[in-house]
Assembly symmetry: C2
Homo-oligomer: 291 residues x 2
């Protein structure tokens, strides 16, 4: 399943861009910069990609992420769930010779709408690489946290929660923002937050942060980890519907720690998966499926 | 129960100030300005109150709200639940002759913390005036929405939800803020939001607003009423725990319409109560209880 032909894989998001030179399914060189799509002027994509390719011996490039959105280079659309890696490869658009852009994935039913762009490569790659089972619940923590239900190796359904964005909003702009100056870790304050959201009453729990400070229940400014626990806990509890539910977590570092702790408290079982290896496996598989 | 002696009642909040000349339990003159406590310079309260009293024949003044907070003139503290109107009157502080400041009310147990300051006069006044039963669930919609459980005419317990603040935060600062340009009313979009939050999965429902716009399920920018429905619906569903639950709503205009609709969809029954009459009844009762 490993291609010998080298290529460049690009994960091009809203604020960052990562490029990998991949040979025989292995990353042999990496670049990362802050040229997310919002930093690219109108009409600027062809020149930027030409520069990138020039640095990598003119290799063909396969790109995923917001570069394929209506604010990117070329709108690659969305593949509706259930979405397989073959369907993604078949949906690739080619704005110019040697450049492929992978479509996103959507839920588009009468009752629900959801979209992802970029995460699908990691999700399908995790299964393709054997890092997660073909039937599994996968979680990709972040600004807009994705929870994907994989069935027979396809993305059968998924849900996005604005967990990370909500934390940033509250910290920067809410009345309780001044209570959120401290560091976040997976310690006691975080765990108390996860416990406290068990009644799904998030709007009240958040005001409780202010009241706890006013009444001296918590030191002023010390609530960042607790609020993180409230939000991540609410997110996990909404997704973990049966005791012992296994969640494959595409994360590392602090986010892996926080979600692992919250999943456990919510009655699930977390398995951390290498998200970079998943991306590389997924994009390599797509490359191999291209004509 | 009506005092013949005239006095000035002041509802002094964070951003606004309202003053009423009350005679025989009736408002005979009203003033409203934007001199909330944040607009008062350090040490500025005595002069402002002296000016106010000079305009009202030097009558005694009874004040409630943030003027009694640690950022106001004099910290009047909190009365712990269950809080009666007699306990509030007994807790009044007197920074100078003829000036009374009513304390707030708190929930201060090992497991829960909550605070109110200003709302307690309206809540206890609604019962005192016979506008709400002595045993009732009262709701005061606003930036920090208060839900009070009244028992035997006292505030037995209460919960604050940051419903109004969350709407403002999302509109001003979230990715979905650009979807929230339209007007809010209690029509179909609002009702759909109330329905959609039935699974208590607020963080996912909010991201769904973005996805619905991207996939063309809703016109771009048209989601303000839907988001309002999600938030107010979540708030009401967390509070209405039995079918037919009666909620006495201290609100008028749009907020009364929105909360009445959401309470009904959530299985409750809304009764709108005159919030101004409740405040006047409450502050008059407190005045009559002062030595």
């Amino acid at each position: 399943m490993v291609s010998a032909a080298p290529f460049i894989a690009v994960d091009w998001g809203t604020t960052n861009r990562r490029a990998y030179r991949i040979e025989n399914g292995e990353v042999v060189a990496t670049e990362r910069d802050d040229r997310g799509i919002l930093a690219v002027p109108a009409g600027g994509f062809p020149a930027l990609v030409a520069e990138l390719r020039a640095r990598f011996d003119g290799l063909p490039v396969v790109m995923a992420g917001m570069v394929g959105s209506n604010r990117g280079w070329h709108d690659a659309g969305y593949i509706a769930c259930p979405a397989t890696i073959e369907a993604l490869a078949a949906g690739v658009v080619t704005p110019e010779e040697g450049v492929s852009i992978v479509p996103g994935v959507c839920v588009d039913t009468k009752s629900r709408a959801d979209v992802m762009r970029g995460e699908e490569v990691q999700l399908l790659g995790a299964v393709a690489a054997g890092l997660a089972p073909a039937d599994a619940l996968l979680c990709q923590p972040g600004t807009h946290n994705k929870w994907a239900v994989m069935k027979h190796g396809a993305i059968a359904d998924f849900t996005t929660a604005m967990t990370g964005e909500m934390f940033a909003l509250l910290k920067a702009h809410a009345l309780i923002g001044s209570e959120m100056a401290g560091e976040v870790d997976a310690g006691d304050d975080f765990r108390q937050g996860v416990e406290a959201c068990a009644d799904a009453d998030l709007l009240a729990a958040l005001f409780g942060v202010r009241a706890a400070s006013v009444l001296g229940h918590r030191a002023p400014g010390a609530a960042a980890a607790y609020v993180s626990g409230l939000l991540i806990g609410s997110d996990c509890r909404a997704r973990i519907t049966q005791p012992g539910q296994q969640v494959h977590l595409l994360a590392d570092g602090l986010l892996a720690d926080l979600y692992s702790a919250a999943i456990t408290i919510a009655g699930g079982q977390a398995v951390v998966v290498d998200s970079k290896a998943s991306f590389v496996a997924g994009i390599t598989r797509i490359r191999n499926l291209l004509p």
